[in-house]
């Protein structure tokens, strides 16, 4: 079981690494971030709130961009069908896909975001909060996105429709994440607990639903 997981994870990792999609996500994040200082039109530091919201918006869109490729290649070249025919448990495949998606669209952003926030606003006090809330929120983005990416397999207009349908489900995470990042809040950290609760429910619930969807769509 573990062995199978590592094999599939390694394959996904290699596919992502070799096909430029990994670098596309993180460079899209940086490009999206650069727009904000330019759009404000001043060469000074941005305000702290603005830089935090810029980072969250860029994270959201980088995740959405990467979501389209989550199951698409494996569906198109028949790898998913191959897994089903050979009785590979789809749960393992889905967890491996989610993990590799997070490794390429979540982890680099988490590491680079505090630096970006410092460069943009000149403050570093809330960097720890930003780091923690991004660590909690980006896996939730991936987990919510995975059943919807599976739903859109085989539809004619996938990219735009996927973005449109997924966005409303991301909004609560954005709300709690931004609330958790603001240090002006009282120090109860209620938002982190809430995000952690959503993450621990979603870790079970969303891959389960994804397996159901993949099975019924491929058959």
């Amino acid at each position: 079981m573990n062995n199978l997981f590592y094999i599939i994870l390694k394959k996904d990792f290699k596919d992502n690494l070799l096909s430029n999609k990994a670098w596309f996500t993180i460079s899209f994040f940086l490009l999206c971030l650069i727009i904000f200082p330019l759009a404000f039109g001043s060469s000074q530091y941005l305000e702290l709130n603005v830089s935090i919201s810029a980072i969250w918006i860029s994270t959201l869109f980088a995740n959405l961009i990467a979501l389209d490729h989550m199951y698409k290649e494996d569906y198109n070249d028949g790898t998913l069908l191959y897994y089903i025919v050979n009785k590979v448990p789809l749960v393992i495949v889905v967890y491996a896909k989610c993990l590799s998606h997070w490794l390429f669209s979540g982890l680099p952003i988490i590491l680079i975001a505090p630096l970006c926030s410092y460069v943009f606003s000149g403050y570093s006090e809330n960097n720890l909060n930003l780091f923690i809330s991004l660590i909690l929120a980006t896996p939730i983005f991936t987990l919510i996105g995975s059943p919807i990416a599976a739903l859109m397999l085989g539809s004619s207009l996938r990219g735009a429709a996927l973005t449109f349908i997924t966005l409303p489900f991301y909004l609560p995470i954005i709300i709690f994440g931004v609330m958790g990042t603001n240090i002006n809040n009282s120090n109860i950290n209620a938002e982190f607990y809430l995000l952690l609760a959503i993450l621990s429910i979603g870790m079970i619930f969303f891959p389960m639903i994804t397996v159901k969807i993949l099975k019924s769509i491929i058959n």
Binding site: L157, F169, L171
Partner: protein, 240 residues
Amino acid sequence: MLRKLHKYANPNKFSLIIMPIKNVCLYTALPLIAIGLIIGLFFSPPDYQQGETVRIMYIHVSSAWISLFAYVLIFFLSVFYLIWKFPLFVLMAKEIPFVAIIFTLITLITGSLWGKPTWGTYWVWDARLTSFLILLFIYLGLIFIDKAFKYNVNGDLSFSYLSIIGAINIPIIKFSVDWWNTLHQPASVIRASGPSINIEMLIPLMIMSTGVLLLFFYLIFTNIQSAIAEKKILFLSSKD
């Protein structure tokens, strides 16, 4: 017991059966809405805090209930479709978002018109209002996913799974006024310790919401009939 209902799963029979029900719904809904509006607008007492603006409530609350009820209906129809695989269920579920989105828009617009004199703003980003706006976007997404799969069987499955995922939003909307400190007032009719609303306001509200519910059923039955007819025409034209 359930087997007796199986013959109505035939779309042809179903559309014949809902014909009289549809008319009954329409001809009871219109007088009920008229009576409810007249009592609500002219005979019910003004609120001691909100004054005359409380009369918007009779439209706002009833359409808000309908838009939540419509989602619950979509959810159960999708679950039934995934369990029993009767295509009629998903055919019905797919027609609901078009109607429900109108009621959601009415709720949001009347609510913001009421908010200007009472709260001082048209819109605040509090939990109830934001979650209701998300409901509007989920309805749009449901319509969109239906259109994206126009010529594919997977569309039915995708629609029902998406509606099941989106159902997480419904309890959030219902309990948002209890869980967070919102500007929107807490529930005063459907709650554990009985309604706290004045009986003179409750009566027109109940008449109004019954009327709107029947109107909603009339609209979705009409939509379902036309969808069945459309399916028939598509099938006939694909035969040659």
